[in-house]
């Protein structure tokens, strides 16, 4: 298991570090820009925006330090970087099947559960590395920008954790899709579609009354970073739903993989 994990990480580490640096730099720069923000001007600007645009910040008060920094956790750039990490890592088993690496490994006395388990751990580690580097970027921002001083390190950490679980879930969904597929492209396609549909559904539920009841069907609905960053705690539903998605998708991927054919 350690061998497969090590090989997978060696293949991914450069990409993961680049994405991590990008996320860290982005969160730091956004945090840094808060020093140039006039709270009242921002607040009146946001209030003047149509609801469709306000929904991008999930209704949080982005003029406040917690709201401003929290909104960066659901900024499309943040979400894209984490989604790219999770989906690429989640598609690794399908890529290994497609390129014959799985055949080479599984023609040795290695169980499919051990093989996929190593890939799951590698996926979790990759998403964690990128999330931690993002956390570090935000941490540098709150410790260097005086205006962000009200945001505590603990609150920042408790905001990052559900974000991490959310994207581990997206990685696991990609892995589940990959366990039905012989090509990485198909796994990536399904993982991307899941993330986009979740984002779109959450957005629509906020701006369109008719779609509001559908909001809870999206995993994004269960992550409200500005609220968590301000209060220092996430509701139990956030932890339960996001963890369930990750655990159930992983369990299903393992179950399907244990019986699947792994020829390219």
């Amino acid at each position: 298991m350690g061998v497969v994990f090590s090989l997978t990480m060696r293949r991914a580490i450069r990409r993961v570090l680049l994405l991590g640096v990008a996320l860290g730099a982005f969160l730091f720069l956004v945090g840094l820009s808060y020093s140039s923000v006039d709270e009242n001007q921002i607040r009146s600007l946001v209030e003047s925006l149509p609801p469709a645009l306000q929904a991008f910040v999930k209704g949080s008060d982005i003029a406040s330090p917690a709201g401003y920094l929290g909104s960066t956790f659901i900024h499309p750039i943040t979400l894209s970087i984490l989604a790219a990490t999770a989906i690429a890592a989640g598609a690794a088993p399908a890529r290994d099947v497609e390129h014959g690496v799985a055949e080479l490994v599984l023609s040795r006395p290695v169980t499919r559960t051990a093989w996929l388990g190593a890939e799951v751990i590698a996926m979790v580690v990759q998403v964690t590395i990128v999330a931690i580097m993002g956390f570090i970027g935000a941490l540098i921002a709150i410790t260097t920008v005086d205006a962000l001083a009200p945001v505590s390190v603990g609150n920042l950490a408790i905001t990052t954790l559900p974000l991490l679980i959310l994207f581990i879930g997206i990685g696991a969904i990609t892995m589940l899709a990959g366990s039905f597929s012989r090509t990485a492209a198909r796994a990536i396609g399904w993982g991307t579609a899941f993330a986009l549909v979740a984002y779109a559904l959450d957005y629509l539920a906020q701006v369109w009354g008719l779609a509001e009841p559908l909001g809870p069907l999206s995993v994004m609905h269960w992550y409200r970073p500005a609220t968590i960053l301000g209060s220092g705690s996430a509701p139990a539903s956030t932890w339960i739903v996001l963890s369930l998605v990750a655990v159930v998708a992983t369990a299903l991927a393992v179950a399907v993989t244990s019986r699947r054919e792994v020829a390219p």
């Binding site: 061998v3 060696r10 055949e103 080479l104 006395p109 169980t111």
Partner: protein
Amino acid sequence: MSDAPAIRAQGLGKSYGAGVMALEDIDLEVAPGERLGFLGPNGAGKTTFIRCALGILNPTAGSIAIRGHDITRDRMAALAEVGYVPGDLGMIRAVTGRRMLDALSALHPRPPVLQDRLLAALELGPDALGKRIRDYSTGMRQKLGLVAALQHDPPVIILDEPTSGLDPVMQARLLEVLDERAREGRTVFFSSHVLGEVDELCDRVAMVRGGKLLLVRDVGELRRTRVRTVEVLFDREVDPSAYRVDGMGEVRVEGHVHHFTLSGDPGPLLARIGPLAPRDITIEAARLEDVFRALYLGDGD
């Protein structure tokens, strides 16, 4: 378990969806220490058979066991007995050859006792192993795959077209290595569509076509039953009836040269023709390739 057949397939079948039969009712037994050539054209089912034997694909009928370990019920024990080189060799291109080799070695319970010898035989030195696999040629990747498969000295060696990508010198070297392993009692299951190398290495051949096993026969026996081409040069006119024996085909005479085919043992022909004092006789060696062609072309589809 060591007395069990190295590979034993009983009624093995593999279908994809409705009506697409990749393998159909294959019964095949490979004895310990045997060298079996598994012949067939592209798409005949050779790779599918091997993948079913290793649990890479799930058979839809019958069973297959390696050294007595059924691949579906006792996969770990079965695979611990095998060294396998896939035809379509997949490697992680971002790592060095050395790291890939060590990783594959760590996945096998047997120690890599033959690694150094194989690296030397196949000329994979430290410089080559230090390169990333993305910089390898097809032949180098193939050599690395061969070392990875054989380094544990597995009792059963399964090779799916292993010489593809190797230059002629390395092909010969590989056949020497396999011959040596076989002489030490290892079973070699060698899938190929290159008849010469199977002819050179194997004791028996199994031929597949369209997912069905056509025949399993001793290589020598196949050669003996093969029709040979004979050319005889006389220094005068000779009536072919003077040397006619059973198994001779129609004689075509061009000047003093007689051409004909002969099936079976050439001994009686030589006994009859010797007193006629021919200046030269050429009997083309029976080749496995001829058998192969006859089976595939003669039997019709």
